[in-house]
Symmetry: C2
Subunit: 391 residues, 2 copies
Amino acid sequence: MREVYIVGIGITSFGRLEYPLVEIASYPSVVALQDAGLDTVDHLFVANMGGGRINHQTALSSAVLDHLSLWPAGSETIENGPASGSSAVKLGFQAIASGMCETVLVAGAERMSEVNQLDATDFVATLTHPMAEQIYGITLPALAGMFTRLYMEKYGVTRRHLAMVAVKNHGNAMDNFFAHVHTRVTLEGILDDRDAETNNPVIADPLHFFDMCPVSDGGAAVVLASKEVAKKLGKPMIRIAGVGQATDTHAVHERPDPTELTAVRLAAKRAFEMAKIEPKDVNVAELHDAFTILEIAESEEVGFFKKGEGHLALERGETQLTGKIPINPSGGLKAKGHPVGATGVAQVHEIVLQLRGQAEKRQVKDPKIGFTCNFGGFGNNVVCTVIKKEE
Amino acid sequence: MREVYIVGIGITSFGRLEYPLVEIASYPSVVALQDAGLDTVDHLFVANMGGGRINHQTALSSAVLDHLSLWPAGSETIENGPASGSSAVKLGFQAIASGMCETVLVAGAERMSEVNQLDATDFVATLTHPMAEQIYGITLPALAGMFTRLYMEKYGVTRRHLAMVAVKNHGNAMDNFFAHVHTRVTLEGILDDRDAETNNPVIADPLHFFDMCPVSDGGAAVVLASKEVAKKLGKPMIRIAGVGQATDTHAVHERPDPTELTAVRLAAKRAFEMAKIEPKDVNVAELHDAFTILEIAESEEVGFFKKGEGHLALERGETQLTGKIPINPSGGLKAKGHPVGATGVAQVHEIVLQLRGQAEKRQVKDPKIGFTCNFGGFGNNVVCTVIKKEE
């Protein structure tokens, strides 16, 4: 299999963006192409989930490709729910690994603010099981609430642990210019229930407002290249060393034990095996903390900590920037934001920044190997990536 | 590059289907898996354009994968407008060619009848240029009408030639059980304008009702495999010998000459070069006749006939089942139907049937090489495929 390198990266600010969806995908693409030193590519993948549903825009990849004047390169729009971004990076990897392309641009973008909060929640709920979940009105926050309750009962996770995730990730986001939320929060503030209805209301018990990622617009892009092209471009040699994907039952209630995120475990295992490394070799990770509990659960399933002990490692500070395995230096979905289709690409963007040593105040010390976990559905389609800096 | 074979095919009836979108994608998948003799695959791609917009269904590929109990295989939904199907087949090809997978299921599906005709037209129009076309109310039939008028003026194509495409393809569809339309039409009937308002009204001048494909529901699937697996399965060795893709300006009016379908020409050229054959070597082709004019124009751009002479070859009967290069033996989009995401997969399905010699009454005599052209947007993103039977 041919080796594939990441030679360019770009990102928009996450938050509320007053630009059309096509622009949100195009801007980080231009930045990534400039970063790579390329003015064209062989192919474009655009990761997006809501164009058709909320932006009256299909064939998004063709529109972006045209906006970037990349004809006659081919393109496709890739959708895998909240894991669309990592799926698109994976397909870019395969396009080059197969020998069909030398260079591929992968952009991810979402424009959620075109609809109100309720419609945004309905839009995201379209990824649930159509016959077993959707028709009963389930939403993603509801699923996460039930998951959290089970996790608390089984492993002794408390609201305090959940708040620790928020405090850490909001703190990291303070040093990320592109993050959606720049609000430093404290454990005391989050856990103070005196004005909870105003400051931190219950959204889906036991999850409060500060356990949820925001609804964001945003875009991110990476340029991939074959080894031959990457060497010529003279950028740091950062390689996609492993890609793993796995699925689980679409309906959460069909899982023998709903607290087990089997697809996360298997996707990570496959990525590590392909990269020929172990979880302990990872120096920096971006996990999919759409809800605070997910960072804890994923940190266990991917193998950083034993099952049921993620919250203890968190308590010990092991996932801080200076910890054993820093998680979500970017601020994560929780504070950087979660423009659905962009998220997986943005995770890779952060890892490349970290491996290049360009993450400024949130730089992890001298990382060699990075890892991303992008969580589709409620854990029904997960993509993990291992990214390695070559000396 | 590893070689990739088509080892299983399946299709639904096209037309109005009273099943959910997930079922429409799943049924032909089961048929294709049975045909291949497989009960699982390494990966699933689902081609679909309207799930989010018209069926309240995103993450379609995860839902289909779950319905087929294919966990923990990964999956993505692929969208490239009306060329989504061929794009998904191409990505299946790359997944195997890269060495990441041994077997891939590619399903295409659309459920258009969930919305009325007007909303279906609006849905398809979401693929036009958002700033330069969509906001002015352009639709695909309108673009096709203007294209047809230019073609008539430039090359002497008449309404009679357009009608010949319809008569041929409706005739072929009479022998295709799965076709949407089983209505034999005649030149005299189509060109008789006495009761045109009732029988064959103008839709987008000069295009009449019988120049348009119907709005269809439907699904199709193919199973791809590496050479090693294909040999074990013992099916006829039918190989994807070439895949070509190319894009053009998104807004049609930006093309120097709007009668030139540059992306079709280039996509075909790339596919032929990869397969190391020439257009004259093709024995049977499925072209994208969403409008009658497109079959004529594409037959020229892909290289079967000289530019401006497709209608003359049609007149001479060269594209009939018994002609020099039979086009659309399945009935084409015109009469087989056009469930958008399924179309490209269904084109490949027909070519495989023909190469296997299983097309019954519409069987072309002993074909060795087949070709498909799947036309995204109004020619802004085109995918062509060369499929070869190995002895």
